[in-house]
Each structure stands twice: as structure tokens, then as C-alpha cells.
């Protein structure tokens, strides 16, 4: 059986001495295909980190550039989504350091640049405020569920986490988010 990573792409690994080659190896993944799959998942996470749409887009672009530079590592990684997520987070930390931005992540003083009415903006601000009170993993879970990704996708994005554990985390995160938003009402 061929080894695949969480993108269901073939990963070249050392075969054991006993194992025999089975047929032809699948073709290596196309970079653009893999990047588009990952980009879709990066946006919600970038948004939870930056709290701003334009900054999130910039961060995703930086991450994609780095993924293109390190395409071999990315495509052959066991968890390519998690690899991309790690790069995005490092890029975010770097950008914070460069800007000497001492505003903590909990600080939600910045307004979300979302077009719409004032009520919608306030609702989004409350949502982000409550999201920031969650752990990073919970933020990823909630944002990705909100963006419509499946449990399997979230599992791949987070990395080493079982579906059962993910489900429990999701339930707790949803509960705490609802409690937080209920209190703010």
C-alpha cells in the first residue's frame, strides 16, 4: 500500500526490506491543487489571528509564497495542512515583531473591516471577542466549522488529533462560545 499524507497525496518513504513494490507509484501532487486546498482552510485561521480581513489576506499570501518556496517539504509532509498552519502562525508572529505591535491578541480594539451595517459589525466584534477567549485549537475548530469545513478537514489542519477528541473539543468550544455570547447579550 502506498503511503499518503493527509492531503491523500503520495508520500515517498523508505520501504522495508520485505515489502515488494506494488504497481506504479501515483503521480506526485500538483502544487497549485494542493495550495488551493490549503488556502481555503488558511483564511479562517488567519482571520482569527489578525482580526482583520486585509491583514488575513496578506498573511495567507505570505504563507502561500513560503509554501511555494518550500514546495517539496510541503507536499511530502505528513500533515500538509498543519505544516501550512505552522508557517502562517510563524509569519503572523514575524509580522507582529516587525510592526513592534504590542497589542495583545485579546485586544479587540480594532474594528473589523467588514462592509455592512453597524449591527452586523457589532455582532462580528462580539463574536471575535468571544473567539479570542478560546484556545488556539478551539479558535481553529470554530472558525473552520463556521467556514463550512468538515471534521476531517479540521482534523488534517490541526494535525495529530483524533476525531473523538476533536468532537469533544468542538462541543466544549461551541458551549463556551454560546455562553460567552449569551453573557454579552
Amino acid at each position: 500500500m502506498q503511503a499518503t499524507n493527509s492531503l491523500d497525496f503520495y508520500v515517498q518513504r523508505k520501504r522495508s526490506i520485505e515489502s515488494k513494490p506494488v504497481g506504479k507509484a501515483p503521480k506526485p501532487p500538483k502544487l497549485d491543487q494542493a495550495l488551493k486546498l490549503v488556502a481555503d482552510k488558511l483564511v479562517p485561521y488567519a482571520l482569527t489571528l489578525t482580526n482583520d480581513l486585509s491583514n488575513a489576506e496578506d498573511l495567507c499570501q505570505q504563507t502561500l509564497m513560503k509554501l511555494i518556496e518550500n514546495q517539496q517539504k510541503f507536499l511530502n509532509a505528513e500533515y500538509p495542512y498543519a505544516y501550512a498552519k505552522k508557517i502562517l502562525k510563524n509569519a503572523f508572529i514575524d509580522s507582529l515583531r516587525k510592526q513592534k505591535n504590542n497589542i495583545s491578541l485579546d485586544d479587540v480594539g480594532q474594528e473589523l473591516s467588514i462592509n455592512g451595517n453597524q449591527v452586523a459589525q457589532l455582532e462580528h466584534r462580539d463574536l471575535m471577542k468571544c473567539l479570542k477567549r478560546h484556545s488556539e485549537t478551539d479558535q481553529i475548530i470554530l472558525s473552520m466549522l463556521g467556514a463550512g469545513h468538515s471534521y476531517a478537514d479540521i482534523q488534517r489542519f490541526i494535525g495529530k488529533i483524533s476525531i473523538e477528541n476533536l468532537r469533544i473539543k468542538t462541543l466544549r468550544a461551541r458551549k463556551t462560545l454560546a455562553e460567552c455570547l449569551g453573557r454579552n447579550k
Binding site: 489576506e57 458551549k175 454560546a178
Partner: protein, 202 residues
Amino acid sequence: MNQLQKLQLVSLLEDGFTYNNSKEVRHLVGLSDQAYNFYNSLLSANKKLHSFYQSRELKRINNNLNKFIDKQLQSTKTISLSKAFSGILAVCCALFLSIGVLVQFSQESEDIFLLTIPETLPKHTIKNYEFNTIWSLADKINEELNASIYQVMFAMYLNNPDAFINADLNNIRGDVDLVIPNYAAVHAVDDKFAKEFVESFL
């Protein structure tokens, strides 16, 4: 409503059950006002999450990122092509410059390296006061030219047509320097023929 009941309610909602289609949900929500409020908050949170993370702006970002990926991957290909092209261009420029420098150098060094080959070889002459007769002169240099006196005399006669009065081998002009014939000129004539020629003037 305790934490366990809250989790149960979340779990049911997660599985797609609602107040309208599930008896368990209705039971849990009906436990207290707190449970009812929690249920509403839960619905509101889910709605807000969906409306925010599936907003038009996020879809636009996703589209932009897809375009960005295409552009970047296309540019990496074109970069490689442009790199190759620029490399060729650089080599051409280097060649052109080096040729220009060489041409310039050759032009500058033309005067230095150009061998000016004279149309006629420098003639070795002997002053008229350095000898008395053509015989004595031929006697001096015949060994050097490895030829007979007659050969030398004949060659000298041919090389200095204006040096002899009335074309007489015995009458050399006093105001003319004689050109010493070279080796080839001396050996161009047969010794026997030269001897007969010289003796004809006696």
C-alpha cells in the same frame, strides 16, 4: 442546567437535531429558563459563525488567493524563462563588450604590433672609399657568401647597373656606393658563366 446537559444539547444540535424535530432537545430546553437562553445563544453563535466565516468578503479573499496562486505559479515559470533569456542576453552583452574591447585594443595596438614589412629589403651597401677595385671587393666578401669571386663580381654588376661607367666592369664610379648582393643573387648564376662574363671584360 448543568455542564453535562449543556454538552448534551450541543451534541444534539451538532448532529442536526433541533427543538422542532427532537424530543430530547425539547426536553433539555424545557428544563429551565437558563436552558432556553443557552439554547438560543447556541443557535445565535452558530448563525454568527456561519454568517461571518461564510461572508462575501471571505469568499472574495478565497477567490483572490486562488488567483494569487495561479499568478505566482505562472510567474515562477515565466521567471525561469525570463532568467534563461536574461542569461542569454547577458552572455551576448558580454561577448559584444569583449569583442568591442578586443577591437578597440587591436585598433590601439595596431601601431605597436603591426609588423611593417618593407617592400624591398634593406640594401647592404659599401662606401666607395672602402675598396679600390671590384676584384678586391669580391675577394673580401666571397668567402662570406660562400661563392667564387666571379659569382660575386657578376652579382655586383647586376645589382649596381649605374655604378659602372659605360657598363664596364673595370670602371667603377667613384661617387656611387655599391650595393652588396645577397646570397641568393650571388648563387643565382653559375660559377662557369660568371667566370666567362667577367673574363669577357679583360
